[in-house]
Every structure is written in structure tokens, then in C-alpha cells.
């Protein structure tokens, strides 16, 4: 039997980026907030100090910061004709666990989506005609616009101390920035990171082809920074261990380095760790969540009532909890009806290796978002007429570091092992770089999340089942921008290049990116979406669902900037509308 606990004003489920943001905002509004985190407490000097945070074996290969699959995993398949099998080893994506979530081991690539990204269906239809969108491509407008999110993007960028160069200040295009971005109210809080040799070469080549390369906006600090909460972030040392690692130097924005020093001290905030929510208890008649049931590390079960619940776990867990709790109608790919699990999407990536004879590139100098980027082929920044696809992606050289176990670039034709391979690695390690493409994935009728009929977790609950594959749209788009990346690579006058197209079906094994999106998407009506523009559930007015869970499809950028902007937008609506009159903020 679950022990019933005294109620709180707000219960936050999961304590990563969005949990911390909502905790900070709602305690500011005077509410009594409790956050439950399934993992443990985690902080810089204890869990990833500079004495051992650059341990590639421990953190990347042995997954110290990632979700332990023995405790929870999901099953995967490419389409409904297959039987999904459990993912028993992390590969394609790396969800986090413990305080700070995956925001501890992210790279810090912090983007805003394009204004047209938020109008994916209506914009493409009006520019290219109704036929440009195939019948099974289930993309939707978001129900929120870039202009509405702009102040919230700005707030997150200043919270994090993003290093970058504005490309569009209140409509005026700025040299050196991204000319395609939506207008921003002011410059980034910090100047761009200092560029090492490879991004400099990439930018020169891109300019020679008429592109406008600009520094990747980075949550890695180009200088010491004090954020608006008074929290200090240290200057980046370019050690090259962001992605998959925690930062020991306080140089990468995370919940720990931006919010927690302030939030943890508030008397109206409590964080309870090692408390895993297994169900939201839903009153369908009243259309509200009454409590959450959770299990602590000793196996005790508790029921925590709350006036308001913020679902702030990772996207896959958010969707699974909604399904397990019976909140919202599960999506059915046959009929296209239902909303929970609908429009799961991912990211499509490719790369071009560039090998030099005459240039020593010191690739180990790096940071998670240290690089130069071309955005001409993202979103609808270029004319798609006759190309057979919509969407796009960015092309860039981002030197995240060349960790020794992971990084062994070899030219085409090199054996996969043996002395010739070793020789090639030794010859090329210092003299090669990679140009990456990072592409959008449009949502598709057959790509979705539901509960697995066979496999169960340690509590006996069904695992989440992921059914996903790249469609022709993604492959055409990715191949197109990969060819553009190869053009830039050739313009660098290297000895040789190696073009790595993304071929075939999505594969769960090789690491690609932890940019899973959708499953409880936002939208204009309860028929086509799970949550409204304020991230409020259509089925429970006191439930707000954070994260990339809300993305109706996945644009060609890293998601965190938009995840945070949506969280602030939602917090704003809760503070200024919901608290005054609890109920549905949008009437269907």
C-alpha cells in the first residue's frame, strides 16, 4: 500500500533542465514546489570534478552518466511489420539519469528554431502547394509562433550565458552571425568561443563558396559569466569533453551551473531524489491529476497529492507515463486517431571526413559547441522546388574534441583493423576533421510510440515501444545537404575526403544524437495534439508536459533551446493565467 503524503502545490516529475526551470519559476510565484527525481543527487565537485571528468572509458564507454538499461529501457523496431526487441545497450541516443538529467552530458549547442519551423504545415503548403506534403507526412503547425517564444529564448540564453554572434538584431542582419535566424531582441550574452584551426578552415572554404558561416551558439563559456540569478559560470578550457561528460570547470550551462545554487536554497522548494514516479493518478471526470505514485530506493511506495503536476522527465518517459496513467487517447497508426505516442521523430545526421597532408589541426582542442556553421540549407532557408523533400539541416565543423578511444579517422580503403589501420590512425589523427550535417525529421503516420505488448520493466509495467524509420523525405534531404557539405570540404583543398551518407533504415546501434521528439505533441486542438500551446494537457488541466515531447516534428536544429523556451512560455502562462483561474487555458 502506498503511504499517502501531505499535498503540495506543485509536483515536478523529473529534475533536469525543464524541472529546474519550472521549479525556479513556480517557487518565484510563491508556490510550494516538490520535485521528484528517480536518480541521485549530483554536483560538480563530487560527481564530475576536473580530477576525473575527462575519463572517456568511464563516462562514454561505460555510460556512467546515462540511463541504466537494466532498470529501464524500451523496445525498438523500424515498422509495424516487425517485432520490437528491447534495447539492451545504449547506442543511437543517450538519455540521462540523476539530477540535471541529460543536460549534464549535453554539448551545449543552443539554437532557436526558424520562424517558419513553427508553421511547418501551413508555410510549406503555401509556398510549395498542398502536394508538397505527402499524405502520410503528419506534420503540424505548433500553435505557438517564433515571436511569442522570442522573449523566452532570450531568457534561457541569458540564463546559460550562451556564447555566440547575433545574425538578426530586431530585423537588421548582422555580419558574422546567422543571416537566416529570426529576429532577436539583443546580442548574445557572451562573444563566440575562440575558434581553433579546423573551424577556421571550414569557414574560409564556406565563404569562398558564397556562404555565410557563423559561430555555433554555445552553452560553453567564452569568458567568466554571472547569470541573471547571480550564478557564476567559469571560462571554458577547450578540453574537448562536453558531449557525454559533465563539466568540472563550471563552463557548460546545466541545471547545476545555472539554477540549482539558487533554487536549492529556497524554503518553498524541496528536491527528493531516488524517488521514481511510476504512475500519475488521474481523475477523468474532474479532468485533473490528483497525485503521483512513486517508489523510493528502498522499495517503499508513496502517493504524493498535488494541486498541479509538471511532467518534466525525458521525452520517452513522459510519453510512457501518460500511457501508463491512461491520460489522453493512445495513438493508433492504422486509423490515425489518438494523440499519445503520435508524431515521434528523431534527427538525421551525416558527415564528411576531410584529410590533409600539410595541416596539423590539433583536433583535441574542443568544446561541445565550438565550431562554425552554415545554415543556408536548414528549414526553408532555400528553395525546395523540384527537390522532392521539405525541411533541411545545418552543415558545420564542430570540434567537440577528439577523444582518443572514440576518434580514429581513416581514409577510404583503410582496413578496419591491424597494423595498416593503426598506421592510418596515427597518420591522420592530427590531420583530419569532420564536417557534420544535422537534419530535420518530419513526422510520419507510421512513426510513433506505444506500450510494448511483451516486455515489462522491474515494476511489471510494460516498456515503451518505439516504431521509427527514416522516410524518403529524410534521405533525400540528408543526401542533398551531405552533397553541399562535400562541396565545402573540397573547397578546403584537402588530400582527400570521405563522404558518409546516412544510408538505409534507422539503426539503434551507432550513436547518432539524443534528439528524440514528439509523442505528446502540442497543437491547436485535442483531436490532433495531446497538449495545448501552453503545454497543458487537453485531458487534465492541472498537468503540464515539458520537453521535446511537445515537438510536432523535429526541425534541423538541436532541441534544447526550444525545449527551454517552451518551458518558460508555459511557466509564464501558469503564473499569469492558470494560477488566477485554474482550468483549461485554451478551450477546444
Amino acid at each position: 500500500m502506498a503511504t499517502r503524503l501531505p499535498p503540495v502545490d506543485v509536483l515536478i516529475v523529473g529534475f533536469g533542465w525543464t524541472g529546474a526551470i519550472l521549479g525556479q519559476e513556480l517557487t518565484d510565484a510563491g508556490l510550494n514546489v516538490l520535485a521528484l527525481e528517480r536518480g541521485a543527487w549530483r554536483d560538480t565537485p563530487i560527481d564530475f570534478p576536473p580530477t576525473f571528468d575527462q575519463d572517456e572509458l568511464r563516462y562514454y564507454w561505460r555510460h556512467e552518466l546515462f540511463e541504466p538499461l537494466a532498470h529501464e529501457t524500451l523496445t525498438v523496431r523500424n515498422n509495424v511489420s516487425e517485432t520490437a526487441l528491447p534495447m539492451r545497450r545504449l547506442g543511437s541516443f543517450l538519455p540521462g539519469i540523476n539530477v540535471g538529467g541529460a543536460g549534464v552530458h549535453w554539448n551545449g549547442q543552443t539554437w532557436r528554431f526558424l520562424p517558419s519551423d513553427f508553421l511547418a504545415r501551413s508555410h510549406n503548403q503555401s509556398r510549395y502547394g498542398a502536394k508538397a506534403i505527402p499524405p502520410d507526412m503528419t506534420i503540424q503547425d505548433w500553435g505557438v509562433t517564433y515571436d511569442e517564444l522570442e522573449p523566452h529564448y532570450d531568457k534561457f540564453e541569458y540564463l546559460c550565458g550562451i556564447s555566440g554572434k547575433a545574425g538578426n538584431l530586431q530585423g537588421a542582419i548582422q555580419p558574422g552571425g546567422n543571416p537566416f535566424e529570426g529576429p532577436r531582441r539583443r546580442e548574445y550574452p557572451n562573444p563566440p568561443l575562440a575558434m581553433s584551426y579546423p573551424p577556421t578552415l571550414f569557414a574560409e572554404a564556406a565563404r569562398s563558396l558564397g556562404h555565410s558561416p557563423f559561430p555555433q551558439p554555445a552553452a560553453n563559456m567564452s569568458r567568466p559569466y554571472v547569470n541573471p540569478l547571480g550564478v557564476q559560470l567559469g571560462p571554458c578550457t577547450y578540453c574537448g569533453f562536453c558531449e557525454k561528460f559533465g563539466c568540472g570547470n563550471y563552463s557548460k550551462a546545466s541545471a547545476q551551473t545555472t539554477i540549482l545554487p539558487v533554487l536549492m536554497k529556497k524554503p518553498n522548494f524541496t528536491l527528493r531524489t531516488e524517488s521514481e514516479v511510476i504512475k500519475l493518478n488521474y481523475d477523468a471526470a474532474a479532468k485533473r491529476v490528483v497525485s503521483a505514485t512513486y517508489v523510493d530506493a528502498s522499495g517503499q511506495e508513496f502517493e504524493q497529492p498535488a494541486e498541479m503536476v509538471i511532467l518534466a522527465a525525458y521525452i520517452l518517459h513522459n510519453v510512457r507515463l501518460l500511457l501508463l496513467s491512461g491520460i489522453g487517447q493512445p495513438y493508433d497508426p492504422q486509423s490515425g486517431q489518438g494523440v499519445i505516442g503520435k508524431n515521434y521523430a528523431y534527427q538525421i545526421t551525416s558527415s564528411v571526413n576531410v584529410f590533409f597532408d600539410d595541416k596539423v589541426l590539433n583536433p583535441f582542442i574542443g568544446a561541445g559547441a565550438h565550431g562554425m556553421v552554415v545554415d543556408k540549407y536548414n528549414g526553408d532557408n532555400f528553395d525546395h522546388s523540384g527537390l522532392g523533400f521539405i525541411g533541411g539541416g545545418y552543415i558545420g565543423n564542430i570540434q567537440t574534441g577528439a577523444r582518443p578511444i572514440e576518434t580514429h579517422p581513416t581514409p577510404e580503403g583503410t582496413p578496419k583493423w591491424g597494423s595498416a589501420w593503426k598506421k592510418a590512425v596515427a597518420a591522420n589523427y592530427l590531420k583530419s576533421m569532420s564536417i557534420a550535417t544535422h537534419g530535420a525529421v518530419m513526422s510520419h503516420r507510421g512513426n510513433y510510440l506505444d506500450l510494448d505488448p511483451t516486455y515489462r520493466d522491474v515494476y511489471g509495467r510494460p516498456l515503451l515501444r518505439m516504431t521509427f524509420d527514416f522516410t524518403d523525405n529524410e534521405h533525400r534531404m540528408s543526401d542533398y545537404i551531405t552533397d553541399r557539405a562535400a562541396e565545402i570540404a573540397r573547397a578546403m583543398n584537402p588530400r582527400e575526403i570521405k563522404v558518409n551518407y546516412r544510408k538505409g533504415s534507422w539503426d539503434v546501434v551507432p550513436y547518432q544524437t539524443t534528439h528524440n521528439t514528439g509523442g505528446a505533441i502540442m497543437g491547436k486542438d485535442p483531436k490532433s495534439s495531446a497538449i495545448n500551446r501552453y503545454l497543458q494537457s487537453w485531458d487534465a488541466h492541472n498537468l503540464f508536459v515539458m520537453g521535446s515531447t511537445a515537438f510536432p516534428q523535429n526541425p534541423g536544429y538541436n532541441p534544447t533551446g526550444t525545449v527551454a523556451a517552451l518551458a518558460y512560455f508555459s511557466a509564464d502562462a501558469i503564473k499569469n493565467q492558470y494560477l488566477k483561474s485554474p482550468g483549461f487555458l485554451v478551450h477546444a
Binding site: T3, L5, R38, G39, A40, W41, D43, T44, P45, I46, P49, P50, T51, F52, P68, A70, H71, E72, I97, V99, P224, L229, G230, V231, Q232, G234, P235, T237, C239, G248, N249, Y250, P261, V262, M264, K265, T270, L271, R272, T273, E274, S275, V295, D296, A297, S298, G299, Q300, F302, D457, V458, Y459
Partner: protein, 494 residues
């Protein structure tokens, strides 16, 4: 028995101690004060607010609040040269100061006697508090009476013989206690006198920053020249340009005391607590007064330092570049207010290397304050560097970039290492408790690491070892979950 004292029997046999007679005599002269009946708790809000401010200025919480414990409920082990004493409960509970009068509080501060007229041990710094004015004492009293009473019946009598005889203290007082209250120096400004009062009386800064004699009394001739305190060396506060505050402006000092950091240094360890609980709560005017007083004192004499071994310096430099330079920069200039400069740092150049070595071994956490809430920390190197390596790098940073201080030996490092205790955890993860972050609570206690052990029992938690369940308070110290050090503190001497 009345609180807060747990009194050593004055009639205990004292054998052949020469001081025995004096003890017995001294005890006889201090009857309890007459108690006025039905004295109501003072409730003048202005008085209470002033009392709260003065209580912060006197940093009563430093000893009377145990980390993770209820405010002012006592129970903190306070180390003295003679052994460890638990601090008293000073909340208005029957196990605290419920029955105390304002007269009795003033007498305890002024003369070191408790409500029954028995001697307090000078772990209570009444030899400084004696300078506190009667009106300030009354304000503190008014504030303490408004605290939430906390029942905390402490068995406080822990000193070994003969120090467990409280009357022994009478002799100490006769030798060392110079009763106040504070007398202003008419030759000096009002700010100087205010600063002197804050530093000498309420702040009792000399309790740490002045060297002590073998009986734990301050050596007045060496006032503010630095003293040992627990596993730290509290640095020179005179205007010495190398070891003291000579390179600091008044504004630097005010910023340090207010925010816990400035362009030169960051408040950590014991001083971090002082800043958090006390100085960061003071007004700018009072902090400026403290700076006025401290900067108007004679500088300590320059120490003669023999040149370090060049081979050791080369070793130390290599270790520095490898392990320290990412934050403190190759030129030792650090990132002021984030990662403190080592070049020119006074704390590093004390003749006694205890603090330098303690930093390296234990790691260190910059105190968070309202003005600067980030607990920027340096990790522990105890598991990574051996005694010789710590000695080499400590010698290097104490003598590089124009710094100068005596070399550090492996033996010294080994001694300091022994005096520190480290929490449990796998090798390479042992951390000094100073780095534990406050506040998250964990109710469940997993006997095994049930979340990721990969066995059939994964997720099925181990049986609770000590009745965990609803209503249990959170872990006393933040981060006290599996494999995490819970409230580890520096161990006592010996």
C-alpha cells in the same frame, strides 16, 4: 538540572593539582543571580531585530548550530586544545535558555559564568564577548527568546581530566580574562571604534587569527598574525603585504566579507562559514568599519624564507601545469572571483602550510552567499597525489610567481592527511565532506545499488535498513545517499 550547562562537579577530587585550591575558592565566589519572577520575554520588534543582527555579528550560529541541525540548538562538537566540547542549546527550551535572564546572559558573555554561576569553558569565546556592551547583550537576549524552542538535551561533559573540572577555568580566567566592556579610543574615528568593537568583541576574530599559548589563550603581542584552528591555519590579518591584507583595499575587504569572494581570494572552510553566517549579514557601513580598523594596525614582520629546492620546484611546476593550471591559469593569476589567483595569494604564503595542503588534499568549496550564490569548488586531490607530490606542488605554488613561503615536506603533508577524514566511496571518488551540497533529501536507503547493478533484483530495492518510510526527515546532510559521504568533517587532533 538547569540548562544549558552540564557541570563538572566542583567537588571532584583534584588530587595533587597545584591549582586545586584556587579552583575551589573561585567556585565559591559566584552565586547564582537573583531571579526576578515572571519575567516576560521581551518582544520589542526593534530590539529583537537588532538582537538578530548582533547575533549574526557575533556568529553564535558558528558553534551553536550543528550542520543540518535546528538553528541554535547546539550539539556541535567544538574542539579545544584540551578536548572536544558539545556546544550548548541556546533556544528558549528547558534544555536551553528558557529560564535564563538578561542579567545571566550578560554575565555569561562578560564573565564566562552560566546561569547558576558556574564556569563556562573558554571554548565559548567570552574572553572576547566580555567586550560586548550591556545593551547589545540585552538585544541578543531578546532575539534568542524569540527562537523556536528546540528540545535537545545534550550530554556535553566530555573533557578529559583534569580539564573536566570547570573551576580549573577560574584560574584560566584569572590569568587571561580581561573583563570589558569595550572602551572606545577617543583618538580614533567613530568608524575605527565601531570596527574595533565588531572585530574584537562581537566578531571575536582573534579567536582564530591570533596565535595561542599552550593554554589556548591569545598571544597579544602577536595579535592578528595568524593562528592554527582545527585543520586550518587562519591567516595573518595585519597589513603585511605578503602574508596579510597589505595588498587589499578596504573595498576588497568589504567585498570579501559581504560576498565571500574578491579579486584576491575566496572564503572557504571555516572562514566560509563565518562569511555565510555572519559577515555577509552585516551592513556595508559595519563592514567598512571593520576594514577601517583592520587596515590601521601594524604589519607583522616579514618572515625570512630560505629558497626552495630547485628540483622540487620543477616537480611541483610539472604537477601544477598538469593538474591545476586549467583553473588557476599557467601564470597563477586564476580567474578572480571564480578560481582564485595563486600569484600573490596571502593565504598560500603563511609560514604554516596547513591551509595550502588542506586545500589540495580535501578540496574546498567557496561559500555561497546571497550576493554570490555559487559554491564554486576545487575537488579533492587526496586520492590522486601522494604526499611527495602534494609537498612538491604546495612548495611550488608557495614560491612561484614571486610568492615566498617555507617549503612543505612530505612529512607535513602526511600529518595533515592523517588529520582529515574522507567519506566512503570507491577509490577515486572519496571526497571530503566540505564539498557536500546542502538540501536534497533522500528517504529511501538502498542496501545495494539497486538501480544499476544489472542483477535480477535491479529496481527491487533492498530492505530498508533502519525503518525508512513516511515521516522520516530528509538525510541530515545533503547528498547523503548511497555511496555518498554524509556530513564528513575534519577529524579531531589525535
Amino acid at each position: 538540572m538547569k540548562a544549558p550547562g552540564v557541570h563538572a562537579g566542583l567537588t571532584a577530587g583534584v588530587g595533587g593539582l597545584a591549582i586545586a585550591g584556587a579552583l575551589a575558592l573561585a567556585a565559591a565566589f559566584h552565586p547564582g543571580l537573583a531571579r526576578s519572577q515572571g519575567q516576560p520575554a521581551p518582544s520589542d520588534p526593534g530590539l529583537v531585530a537588532r538582537g538578530k543582527y548582533l547575533t549574526a555579528a557575533a556568529d553564535c550560529a558558528a558553534c551553536h548550530t550543528k550542520p543540518g541541525g535546528a538553528p541554535f540548538a547546539g550539539g556541535l562538537p567544538v574542539k579545544t586544545p584540551f578536548g572536544t566540547i558539545l556546544s550548548a542549546n541556546i533556544t528558549p527550551d528547558e534544555t536551553g535558555i528558557k529560564d535564563w535572564t538578561a542579567d545571566e546572559l550578560y554575565r555569561s558573555l562578560h564573565e564566562g559564568l552560566d546561569d547558576e554561576g558556574k564556569h563556562l569553558y573558554p571554548a565559548m569565546p567570552y574572553n572576547y564577548y566580555t567586550l560586548i556592551s550591556r545593551s547589545d547583550s540585552d538585544a541578543i537576549f531578546a532575539y534568542l527568546k524569540t527562537l523556536t524552542p528546540v528540545h535537545n538535551d545534550l550530554k556535553r561533559d566530555k573533557l578529559p581530566f583534569p580539564f573536566n573540572i570547570r573551576a580549573f577555568v577560574a584560574v584560566w580566567n584569572w590569568l587571561f580574562l580581561r573583563q570589558g566592556p569595550f572602551k572606545p579610543d577617543p583618538q580614533k574615528s567613530a568608524a575605527w571604534n565601531r570596527g574595533a568593537y565588531l572585530v574584537e568583541a562581537l566578531g571575536h576574530c582573534q579567536a582564530c587569527h591570533t596565535p595561542k599559548n599552550f593554554l589556548g589563550a591569545p598571544k597579544h603581542d602577536d595579535a592578528f598574525r595568524g593562528g592554527s584552528f582545527a585543520q586550518w591555519f587562519a591567516p595573518d590579518l595585519t597589513p603585511n603585504r605578503r602574508t596579510g591584507l597589505g595588498g587589499w583595499s578596504r573595498a576588497d575587504l568589504v567585498e570579501f566579507l559581504k560576498t565571500g569572494r574578491n579579486a584576491h581570494s575566496q572564503a572557504t572552510g571555516e572562514m566560509g562559514l563565518v562569511v555565510a553566517d555572519s559577515t555577509s549579514q552585516l551592513t556595508e557601513a559595519d563592514l567598512d568599519a571593520i576594514a577601517t580598523y583592520l587596515t590601521d594596525r601594524p604589519a607583522s614582520p616579514a618572515a625570512k624564507v630560505s629558497a626552495p629546492d630547485s628540483k622540487v620546484m620543477r616537480q611541483g611546476q610539472a604537477i601544477f601545469i598538469d593538474t591545476c593550471s586549467a583553473c588557476h591559469q599557467m601564470n597563477g593569476e586564476g580567474v578572480p572571483r571564480y578560481f582564485p589567483p595563486l600569484a600573490g595569494d596571502a593565504n598560500l604564503q603563511q609560514s604554516d602550510p596547513t591551509t595550502s595542503v588542506h586545500f589540495i588534499l580535501g578540496g574546498v568549496r567557496t561559500t555561497p552567499t546571497t550576493a554570490a550564490p555559487t559554491p564554486l569548488s576545487m575537488p579533492s586531490y587526496a586520492w590522486k597525489l601522494n604526499d611527495a607530490q602534494v609537498a612538491a606542488v604546495a612548495t611550488y605554488i608557495r614560491n612561484a610567481w614571486g610568492n615566498s613561503a617555507p617549503s612543505v615536506s612530505s612529512r607535513q603533508v602526511a600529518g595533515i592527511r592523517r588529520s582529515l577524514t574522507f567519506g566512503p566511496g570507491p577509490a577515486g571518488r572519496q571526497q571530503h565532506g566540505a564539498l557536500a551540497h546542502p538540501n536534497p533529501e533522500t528517504w529511501g536507503v538502498a542496501g545495494t545499488d539497486s538501480r544499476d547493478n544489472g542483477t535480477a533484483n535491479a529496481g527491487r530495492a533492498a530492505p530498508a535498513s533502519d525503518g525508512s518510510g513516511a515521516g522520516r526527515s530528509g538525510a541530515e546532510n545533503g547528498g547523503a545517499s548511497k555511496g555518498r559521504p554524509a556530513g564528513v568533517t575534519a577529524g579531531g587532533p589525535g
